[in-house]
C-alpha cells in the first residue's frame, strides 16, 4: 500500500450551526475522508487558541474552525 498523506484534521464546530451542517452532510450521505474529527463547542467564540495549539501538539495536521 502506498503511503498517501491523509491529514488529520480537528474541526471545532459551533453546536448551533456548523455541527448541524456536519449532521446534514451525514444525512445526505456526502463523503469526506475519515481523517476529519469534529469537536463540538457551544459557540466557536468559546474556542481558546490554546485548544488549537493542543491539537497541533498532539499531532493534528490541521484545525478547522466552523461556526
Amino acid at each position: 500500500m502506498s503511503q498517501e498523506f491523509e491529514p488529520r484534521i480537528v474541526a471545532f464546530c459551533c453546536h448551533h450551526c456548523a455541527y448541524g451542517a456536519a449532521d446534514l452532510a451525514g444525512a445526505m450521505r456526502l463523503r469526506y475522508p475519515e481523517g476529519v474529527r469534529v469537536v463540538r463547542l457551544p459557540c466557536t467564540g468559546k474556542l481558546d487558541v490554546a485548544h488549537v495549539l493542543e491539537a497541533f501538539e498532539r499531532g493534528a495536521d490541521g484545525a478547522f474552525v466552523a461556526g
Binding site: 500500500m1 503511503q3 446534514l24 450521505r29 463547542l41 468559546k46 485548544h51 499531532g59
Partner: protein
C-alpha cells in the same frame, strides 16, 4: 381522556391548526405560558413552507438552520402534542370550551417505535415525485418529509388498496411486485407474490387475472399484463437452484388433516404449517396439485412448475400422502386429527342426460384430461367431438388435437357467449379445432361395434331472455344433423365427489353436490370439519381456491385456539381509484404516455402441434421491465411489505386505519398557511410544457444544499447550468383573478436572484416587475444591494407570454423598455408565484363556520386583526392576508396572546411538569462510565464494527460497562439505560450513536430518571459524522468511531454536575409608551391576569393614533381610540403613569427593578418581570421639498387633519395655515420624501391613497396627481391602488435618481419632475402639495436604548433579536418591542405586534420561577485583574466589574457574570487573558481532554501498530 376544566368552565388547552412557522410559534408561546397545546398538521411532519426554503431575506440566513431549533423545541415540549396526518372535522361548543373532532389518517409507521434509521426507505420499490422538492426529485412511498423533519419518523404514503389487489380474490399485491420488477429486484418481487399466494408459477400461467380487468391503465390504453409479469418473476426464481425453506417452527400440537392436495388444500396446509400446526394432506391421486395437475394440460401448465411449488410446501413441513384416498372423514377424527379440511375440488365430470351418454367412447372432460396428464391417454380415434365451450372444453379440444385427432367443438349458444377466454378459442382455432355454435346434442348414436359412431345435433337459435337476462337457446325445428365421430367428450361442468362424507356427520350438501360451509371460515355444521375451494362453490378459478384455502386456514386456526371463528370485520382501506382528471393531468405532465401492453410471445401453431410443450413463452427480462414501467402505482404504497421486513424496530404497521378523535380545548388558533399559486394555470408562461420554466419554490429547492440538485442551479430540461435567468413577478398576484399583492414575491425574487449570482458568479439575472415592494425593515437596502452590488437587472414591465425555442429549450421574453419592444433569450425563467388559500383550507373555514372573503382569506377587522368571526377562534399568517415570515410569527404570538387572554383563568390546569428523582451526589466518586454503542439498525452497524467499538469502549479507563444496542433510542433501551445506571452505580454515561442535536435531551432524561445530573452525559456521533460519511471504508470508520468514543469517554470522566439556577419571577410587566401598541400590549397582559405599569411621557394616552382621522376601511379610528383609553384606564390590572419616563432599569429576565421619573420630579420604583418597549415614532417634518416654505405645502398627517375638518364642516377649528382654504381641485402628492429614499416607510403609499380617495369623495372633480417611484400597496392594500386608478387619480412615476423638485419662488407652488415613462420634464402648479412624509424614530430613542442596553438598526429604530424568527424579542431576555419604535407600520400591524409582545412577555410572567440553564460563565475573582476584556467581548453585555468583589492580588473590583443573563457562549472564557473565567460544561480541562483523547491514541496514527503493512517506512 379525562380533562380537568379551569375556572368558569374554561378549558386550559388550545388547538393550533397548521404546523408551519406560524403554528409552531403560537404553540410554543401558549405552552410556555401554561396552556396545553394540540398542534394539528395535515402532513406527516411540521415545518410548513419555511422548511422548504433555502435562505431567508434580508439576512440570508439558512432557513433550515433558523427553523430547526424551533422544530426540535416543539417536538420535545412536554405540553405540546404534535398531531400529524390529521384534519379538523368540526369544532363544536363555544369560546372557552370547544370540542374539536379530528380525523387522523394512518401514518402506517408507529411514531413511538420508528428510529428514523431509513432502512425501510432503501428497500421501498415505489418512487414518486417528491412534493417537498416541488417535483424535482423522487422519493419513496415510505419517506420522511425532509431530513430534519419533526416528528423524526417515517410515514407511508398510501392512497388505499390498489384496484388490482382489490380485484384479486387472494389479495395479491400486484402493484408491489410490479414495482420490484421495475426496480429490477426480482427476488423481492417473488417474496411479495408469495405473501399471498404459494403458486406464482401456476397463477402466472393460468390465472383468470381479474386484476387486469380492474387495472387503471386499462382506462388509458391497455391494462398491464399482470399475469405475464407474475410468471416472469416465478420463472426467474425457478431458474436458480432450489433452496428448500427451513421447516416451519412447530408451535401447536393439534393435528390438522387436509383432504385433497389441490391449490386450496395446499394453500391451507401451508398457512397452517407456517402457523405452527402439524398438517397432513391426503391425496387420492398419485400426484399433487389437484385439478392443476390433472385437469390443465401440460402445454398450458408444465408439471415441473406444479412440482416445484408443491415441494416447497412439503419442505415447510406439510406431510403429503399421495395415493391415499379417504373413505370416511370420521376415521380421521378418530385418528386424532382435531380439524379436517375438505378440499377435494370438483373432479367428477358431468354428462348431459341424453340417450347414449354412457356409450363406450363417451368421456367426460375431467377423466379425459386426467388420463392424458397421468400418462395413460385413451385412444380417441380420428374424430373427436367436444361438447361445451368453456376453458376446460378448450383444454380437451387442444389436447385432442395433440393426440392426433380432428376435433370439433359444439356449443349451443353463440361464440360471444362461450365462457372460454377468447384467446383460448383463438389458439384452438389456430391449432385446427373446428367450432360449431348454436348446436345442441340430442342423442349419441352407437355404431355396429356398440361404440360411439356419431352425435345427432340440433340447431339452436336465441329465444326469450331468461331470468338472468341471457337469451335461452331454443331448437330450430327440423334442423337436426349428425356428426360422425370416434370419441365424444362432455365438457359441460364438473362437481365434487363426496362419498367420504357419511350422512350422519350433519354436513349439508346442496343439489349441485357442493358442501355447505361458511364462506369466510370454511366451517361446516360438524364441529372441526371445514370445507373450502371448489368443493363448496363448484368449479372456480385457481386464485379463488387459494383465497378460499387462506380463509379456511384462518378459520381452523381460530377454531383450534378457541377464538371466535368468525373474526370481527376489519376496517377496510378504500380502493385507490385514480380520477379521470388525475389521469389526464399525469398525461399532460408527460408522466403517462399512451401505448400498448408488451405482448407475450407464443410458440407458432405448427410447432405447438408437435407435442405438449408450453405454448406461451413468457416475458424476457427487458419485456417484463418495459411492461412494469406502465404501472401507474395507483395506491402509491404497493403494500409489498419490504419495509416491514427491513424494519428491525418493528415500527411499520400497514394495518393502521383512519380514526377520529375528539379533544376539548378552550380556544383554536388557525395558522394553516398558504398554497403557492399553481402557475400551470397561467398557460402563457408554459410551466409544465416548457421544461426550463420553473416556479420560485422549485428554484428555492435547487438552491438548497440539501435539495434535488444539491444547491446547484440547473435547467430541468437538460441539467445545464443557466447563464441567463429571468424572473417574472406577479404570477398569480395583481391580475384579473387576484386583486391583491402577495407581499413576499418581490423580496424572495431579489433573494433568489442574489443567491443564483452567488452560486454561479457571472450569471446574468433580470427581474421583470411592476413595482418593487420591499416595504419592511432592511428590505429596501437588500433590494438596492441586489441591484447595485450584485448587478441584478430590473426591467419594469409585465411580460405577457413566453416562447420556447424548441431546439435549445431557451425561452424568449418580449418586453417593453421605454418605447422600444425588445426580445431577449433566457436559459431559465423563474415564475414568482403568489399566495392563495388552498381548497382544503377553505373547506376547513366552512366547517368551522368562520367568514372568509372571495379568495378564501379569513376575514378579520382592523381593530381585532387576529380574531376570526367566531369567538374563541384566532388566526395568524397568510390565511389572513399574504405576508412573510416575520409578520406571520408576530401574528402567531399575537394570536397566542388573545387565546391566553380568553383562557387566563384556566392557565396551568392541563399542563404537566417533568418529574425526576432527587439527584445523587457523585462528588468524591471515581468516574464510573457506562458506554452504549448503537447499531442504528444497519445505519451504523452496516458500516463499521459496532461490537468491536463496544468492546474497545469497555477497555477504556474509567469504563465499567459497555454494550451494543440495536437502537439505543428505542423506548426499551432508554429505560434499560436508566436501569443500568442504577444497577451498576454508573455516574457518567456515554451514548455512541447519532447527533446530540436531536437525541441528547432524550438520553439526558434517561440519566436524570436514574438520579444523575443530566450534564453527566456525553454523546459520540458515530453515525452522522462517521458511518454515514465513510461508507465503504469499514476499517477507517471503525477506527474513527473508536476515536470518537474514546474522546467522549475522556470528556465524560471530567464532566461535573451543572446546576440550573432558579429565581422567583416578579409577575408584573412594564410597558413603555401609551400609544396604540402600548395600550394593546398592556390590555392583553392585564387580561391575562398580570399587573401592568403603563408609562406614557405625554399627558394623555393615544400617541399617533390621535392624529389618524380616517382608516382605509372607512371606519372611525376615534371610536377605537376612545374604547381603548377607557378600557386601559378602567382595567384593575393596569396602572397608568402619565408624564413619566423610565429613568433607570436593572436586573434580568423575570427580575427587573425600574425607576420611573415623573415630570414633577417624583420617582417611583417598580419591580417587574418583563418589559415591552412601544414608545412609537413620529412623522418626519424636515425641510425637504419646501415643507415650511409655503403654506400650501403640507404633510400627509396635516392633510388628513384638513380633510377631516372639511368633511365634518368645522375647518376653522383647525390649527394649520391651510385652515381657511377650501377643498382644493388640484392636488399633487409626492411619495418617498426625505429619509424614505433610504428606507421604505411602508405606510405612506397606503395613507396617501386613502386620503386621495377621501378627497375624491369630498370633491369628485378634484384632480390628484401622485408622484411615486414604486406604489407599495402590499397585500389587500392593492385594492386601494386599483380603486384610486378607477376613480381617476393620476399616477406618474419618477426615477429614483431624479426625485421631484419644488419651487415656491414666485409665491406659487411648482412641482417639477421627469416622467419616467416618457422621459419628459413636467411642471405642475397644484393648489396644494401633499408630502407623504415617512415615519422616523424619536430623536431620543437612542438614549432609551442605551438605558435598556438594546441595539438600534441603521435607520435608528429598535433592533429585534432576529429579523425573521424573533421579531418582537430583544437579544436580552425579558425585553420585548412593538409598534412604530420597531419600524413604520399600519395600525392593525401595530396592534398585532403589541399582542405578540404580550404573548412573549407572558411566557416569562406565567412561570413561578425563571430557570437559567446553568451552562454559564463563572469568574474566579481571585484570578481576575479587572482588565475589562470580558466586558468588551460579551455580545450580550453581561459581564460587569463589581467593586464589591476582590480581584487578583486583593485589588478591589473583579468581573462578575450574572448567571441569569449569561447566554453561555463562552466568548469571555476564551478571551480572558488570566483564565479567570470558565464556561461550565466546557471547561478548559474538559475541552482539552477531548482534543487530547481524540488525537492521543494509536488508532489514528497512520500505519502504526502494523509496520509490516508499510514496507519501506517513510
Amino acid at each position: 381522556m379525562g380533562q380537568a376544566s379551569g375556572s368558569a368552565g374554561l378549558t386550559g388547552a388550545v388547538m393550533v391548526v397548521g404546523g408551519g412557522i406560524g403554528g409552531i410559534q403560537a404553540s410554543l408561546d401558549l405552552a410556555d405560558a401554561g396552556f396545553k397545546v394540540y398542534l394539528v398538521e395535515n402532513r406527516s411532519a411540521i415545518g410548513g413552507h419555511m422548511a422548504q426554503l433555502d435562505k431567508t431575506f434580508p439576512t440570508n440566513d439558512c432557513a433550515m438552520c433558523t427553523i430547526s431549533p424551533k422544530l426540535v423545541d416543539t417536538g420535545r415540549h412536554l405540553n405540546i402534542d404534535v398531531i400529524t396526518n390529521a384534519d379538523v372535522l368540526a369544532v363544536e361548543g363555544h369560546a372557552g370550551d370547544f370540542r374539536v373532532r379530528l380525523r387522523r389518517r394512518p401514518r402506517y409507521v408507529r411514531e413511538d417505535r420508528c428510529t428514523a434509521c431509513g432502512d425501510c426507505e432503501k428497500v421501498c420499490p415505489v418512487a414518486i415525485p417528491n412534493p417537498f422538492d416541488e417535483g424535482l426529485s423522487t422519493r419513496k412511498a415510505i419517506h420522511k418529509l425532509y431530513p430534519q423533519a419533526v416528528p423524526n419518523a417515517f410515514a407511508v404514503e398510501k392512497r388505499g388498496v390498489s384496484p388490482c389487489r382489490h380485484a384479486c380474490p387472494a389479495g395479491q399485491r400486484a402493484q408491489g411486485y410490479i414495482a420490484h420488477i421495475r426496480a429490477g429486484d426480482y427476488e423481492a418481487a417473488f417474496r411479495t407474490i408469495k405473501l399471498d399466494n404459494p403458486f406464482p408459477g401456476i397463477c402466472g400461467r393460468i390465472c383468470n387475472h381479474r386484476c387486469e380487468d380492474a387495472c387503471t391503465r386499462g382506462r388509458v390504453d391497455e391494462p398491464l399484463d399482470i399475469r405475464a409479469l407474475k410468471r416472469f418473476v416465478a420463472d426467474w426464481a425457478y431458474s436458480r437452484p432450489y433452496e428448500p425453506p427451513p421447516p416451519a417452527d412447530r408451535r401447536f400440537d393439534e393435528r390438522v388433516a387436509v383432504i385433497g392436495a389441490g391449490p386450496c388444500g395446499l394453500t391451507a396446509a401451508r398457512d397452517l404449517a407456517l402457523e405452527g400446526y402439524p398438517v397432513t394432506v391426503f391425496e387420492a391421486l398419485p400426484v399433487a396439485g389437484g385439478m392443476l395437475r390433472v385437469g390443465v394440460p401440460e402445454y398450458r401448465l408444465p408439471a415441473s412448475i406444479i412440482e416445484r411449488e408443491v415441494q416447497e410446501i412439503v419442505d415447510l413441513g406439510a406431510d403429503l400422502r399421495l395415493n391415499h384416498p379417504v373413505s370416511n372423514v370420521e376415521d380421521l377424527f378418530d385418528d386424532g386429527f382435531r380439524a379436517v379440511l375438505v378440499a377435494v375440488g370438483a373432479h367428477e365430470g358431468v354428462r348431459l342426460p341424453i340417450p347414449g351418454n354412457d356409450l363406450p367412447g363417451v368421456l367426460t372432460n375431467t377423466s379425459f384430461l386426467r388420463d392424458v396428464r397421468l400418462g395413460t391417454p385413451p385412444d380417441v380415434g380420428r374424430r373427436v367431438v367436444v361438447i361445451g365451450a368453456g376453458d376446460v372444453a378448450m383444454d380437451c379440444a387442444r389436447t385432442g388435437v395433440r393426440l392426433g385427432a380432428d376435433v370439433a367443438v359444439h356449443y349451443r349458444r353463440s361464440r360471444e357467449e362461450a365462457s372460454a377466454h377468447p384467446l383460448e378459442i383463438r389458439h384452438a382455432e389456430e391449432e385446427g379445432v373446428a367450432f360449431t355454435f348454436h348446436s345442441n346434442p340430442v342423442e349419441i348414436l352407437a355404431g355396429p361395434d356398440g361404440r360411439v359412431r356419431a352425435v345427432r345435433f340440433q340447431r339452436m337459435e336465441p329465444g326469450e331472455p331468461d331470468e338472468t337476462g341471457r337469451r335461452r337457446p331454443v331448437p330450430v325445428p327440423g334442423s337436426e344433423f349428425e356428426v360422425e365421430c370416434d370419441t365424444v367428450i362432455f365438457s359441460v361442468g364438473q362437481r365434487a365427489g363426496l362419498a367420504f362424507l357419511p350422512p350422519d356427520t350433519g354436513v349439508q350438501i346442496t343439489r349441485q353436490n357442493t358442501v355447505v360451509a361458511d364462506p369466510e371460515t370454511g366451517a361446516t355444521a360438524r364441529p372441526g370439519l371445514f370445507a373450502a375451494g371448489d368443493t363448496t362453490t363448484g368449479t372456480a378459478f385457481v386464485i379463488e381456491a387459494v383465497a378460499s384455502g387462506h380463509r379456511a386456514a384462518r378459520g381452523i386456526h381460530a377454531y383450534l385456539r378457541g377464538e371466535a371463528v368468525r373474526p370481527a370485520p376489519k376496517e377496510r382501506m378504500p380502493v385507490a381509484e385514480l380520477s379521470d382528471e388525475e389521469l389526464r393531468e399525469r398525461m399532460t405532465r408527460g408522466e403517462i404516455r399512451k401505448g400498448r401492453r408488451v405482448h407475450v410471445r407464443t410458440r407458432e401453431a405448427q410447432e405447438r402441434l408437435q407435442g405438449f410443450d408450453e405454448v406461451s413463452l413468457g416475458y424476457t427480462e427487458d419485456e417484463a421491465r418495459k411492461e412494469a414501467e406502465r404501472c401507474l402505482s395507483c395506491g402509491v404504497c404497493s403494500e409489498c411489505y419490504s419495509c416491514v421486513e427491513a424494519c428491525k424496530a418493528d415500527a411499520v404497521d400497514h394495518d393502521q386505519v383512519e380514526d377520529t378523535q375528539q379533544l376539548r380545548v378552550g380556544a383554536v388558533v388557525l395558522a394553516p398557511g398558504y398554497q403557492a399559486y399553481d402557475a400551470r394555470l397561467s398557460q402563457e408562461y408554459g410551466l409544465g410544457r416548457f421544461p426550463n420554466v420553473v416556479t420560485s419554490l422549485q428554484l428555492e429547492r435547487m438552491l438548497s444544499a440539501s435539495g434535488p440538485t444539491r444547491g446547484h442551479v440547473k435547467r430541468p430540461g437538460d441539467a445545464k447550468v443557466p447563464k441567463k435567468v429571468a424572473f417574472l413577478q406577479c404570477v398569480g398576484s395583481r391580475d384579473q383573478d387576484h386583486d391583491y399583492c402577495s407581499s413576499v414575491c418581490c423580496m424572495y425574487a431579489a433573494k433568489e436572484a442574489v443567491m443564483v449570482k452567488e452560486h454561479e458568479p457571472g450569471t446574468e439575472v433580470a427581474v421583470f416587475f411592476m413595482d418593487t415592494r420591499s416595504f419592511s425593515k432592511g428590505y429596501d437596502a437588500y433590494y438596492r444591494r441586489a441591484r447595485e452590488e450584485y448587478g441584478v437587472r430590473y426591467e419594469r414591465c409585465r411580460v405577457s407570454r413566453l416562447v420556447e425555442d424548441p431546439d435549445t429549450g431557451d425561452l424568449l421574453v418580449r418586453y417593453v423598455r421605454g418605447r422600444e419592444i425588445r426580445e431577449e433569450r433566457f436559459d431559465l425563467v423563474v415564475l414568482s408565484v403568489g399566495m392563495e388559500v388552498s381548497a382544503s383550507v377553505r373547506d376547513l373555514a366552512r366547517r368551522l363556520g368562520i367568514e372568509v372573503d372571495d379568495h378564501g382569506f379569513c376575514r378579520t377587522t382592523l381593530f381585532k386583526p387576529l380574531e376570526a368571526s367566531r369567538p374563541g377562534i384566532y388566526v395568524a399568517g397568510p390565511f389572513r392576508e399574504p405576508k412573510d415570515i416575520p409578520e406571520t410569527v408576530v401574528e402567531a404570538s399575537g394570536a397566542a396572546s388573545r387565546a391566553g387572554s380568553l383562557l387566563a383563568g384556566a392557565r396551568g390546569t392541563l399542563t404537566r411538569e417533568p418529574e425526576y428523582p432527587p439527584e445523587r451526589d457523585v462528588a468524591g466518586e471515581e468516574p464510573q462510565v457506562g458506554v452504549f454503542v448503537c447499531h442504528c439498525g444497519s445505519n451504523i452497524g452496516g458500516f463499521l464494527d459496532v461490537p468491536g467499538v463496544a468492546e474497545y469502549a469497555g477497555s477504556l479507563p474509567g469504563v465499567v460497562h459497555a454494550e451494543a444496542n440495536l437502537y439505543t433510542c428505542s423506548q426499551d433501551t432508554v429505560a434499560h439505560i436508566t436501569e443500568t445506571v442504577k444497577e451498576k452505580g454508573l455516574n457518567r454515561v456515554v451514548v455512541a450513536s447519532c447527533s446530540p442535536r436531536t437525541h441528547e435531551p432524550l438520553f439526558q432524561d434517561a440519566v436524570r430518571a436514574a438520579g444523575l445530573n443530566p450534564m453527566l452525559f456525553e454523546m459520540a456521533n458515530i453515525r452522522n459524522h462517521c458511518s454515514w460519511v465513510h461508507g465503504g471504508d469499514w476499517e477507517g470508520a471503525t477506527r474513527k468511531a473508536m476515536d470518537l468514543v474514546r474522546a467522549a469517554v475522556a470528556r465524560a470522566r471530567r464532566l461535573r454536575p451543572v446546576r440550573s439556577l432558579r429565581y422567583p419571577v416578579k409577575r408584573q410587566a412594564l410597558v413603555l409608551g401609551g400609544g396604540a401598541a402600548g395600550m394593546a400590549a398592556a390590555l392583553d397582559l392585564a387580561d391575562q391576569g398580570f399587573p401592568v405599569h403603563l408609562v406614557e411621557r405625554t399627558g394623555e394616552l393615544g400617541g399617533n393614533l390621535r392624529r389618524i382621522r380616517f382608516l382605509e376601511t372607512g371606519r372611525s379610528p376615534r371610536e377605537y381610540l376612545e374604547d381603548r383609553v377607557r378600557r386601559v384606564v378602567q382595567h384593575p390590572n393596569i396602572r397608568v403613569h402619565l408624564e413619566a419616563e423610565l429613568a433607570e432599569i436593572s436586573g434580568f429576565t423575570g427580575n427587573f427593578t425600574s425607576r420611573l421619573r415623573h415630570r414633577s420630579g417624583d420617582t417611583a420604583v417598580i419591580e417587574h418581570g418583563a418589559v415591552i418597549v412601544a414608545t412609537g415614532a413620529r412623522e418626519y417634518r424636515g425641510p425637504d421639498l419646501g415643507l415650511g416654505a409655503h403654506p400650501d405645502i403640507v404633510t400627509g398627517l396635516d392633510f388628513e387633519e384638513f380633510l377631516f375638518h372639511k368633511a365634518s364642516g368645522n375647518g376653522h377649528d383647525l390649527d394649520l395655515p391651510i385652515a381657511r382654504r377650501s377643498i382644493p381641485d388640484e392636488v399633487v402628492m409626492v411619495l418617498c420624501v426625505g429619509p424614505a429614499q433610504r428606507f421604505c416607510s411602508r405606510t405612506c403609499c397606503v395613507t396617501a391613497l386613502k386620503n386621495a380617495l377621501i378627497l375624491k369623495e369630498l370633491r369628485p372633480q378634484a384632480r390628484i396627481t401622485v408622484l411615486y417611484k414604486d406604489i407599495r400597496t402590499y397585500g389587500f392594500k392593492e385594492r386601494l391602488y386599483t380603486e384610486a386608478r378607477r376613480r381617476g387619480v393620476v399616477f406618474r412615476r419618477y426615477d429614483e435618481a431624479e426625485p421631484p423638485q419644488v419651487s415656491t419662488g414666485d409665491g406659487t407652488v411648482r412641482v417639477w419632475y421627469r416622467d419616467a415613462a416618457t422621459g419628459r420634464e413636467v411642471s405642475l402648479s397644484p393648489e396644494l402639495l401633499v408630502l407623504a412624509e415617512p415615519i422616523v424614530p424619536h430623536a431620543d430613542l437612542g438614549e432609551l436604548a442605551t438605558r435598556l442596553k438594546v441595539p438600534l438598526d441603521s435607520d435608528g429604530f429598535l433592533l429585534e433579536a432576529h429579523v425573521k424568527l424573533r421579531p418582537v424579542d430583544f437579544q436580552t431576555r425579558g425585553l420585548y418591542l412593538a409598534g412604530l419604535a420597531h419600524y413604520p407600520k399600519l395600525l392593525a400591524e401595530s396592534v398585532a405586534q403589541a399582542q405578540a409582545a404580550a404573548a412573549r412577555a407572558a411566557t416569562v410572567l406565567a412561570k413561578e420561577h425563571v430557570e437559567s440553564e446553568g451552562v454559564v460563565a463563572e469568574v474566579v475573582p481571585e484570578r481576575c485583574a479587572g482588565c475589562l476584556t470580558c466586558v468588551r467581548v460579551c455580545p450580550y453585555d453581561v459581564p460587569q466589574i463589581r467593586p464589591d468583589l476582590q480581584g487578583a492580588g486583593g485589588i478591589a473590583g473583579a468581573a462578575y457574570v450574572e448567571p441569569a443573563t449569561c447566554h453561555g457562549c463562552g466568548v469571555c472564557a476564551a478571551e480572558c487573558p488570566a483564565k479567570a473565567i470558565q464556561l461550565a460544561h466546557y471547561t478548559d480541562d474538559q475541552v482539552a481532554a477531548t482534543v487530547d483523547a481524540l488525537l492521543g491514541a494509536d488508532t489514528w496514527y497512520r500505519g502504526e501498530g502494523d509496520a509490516s503493512a508499510a514496507p519501506g517506512g517513510c
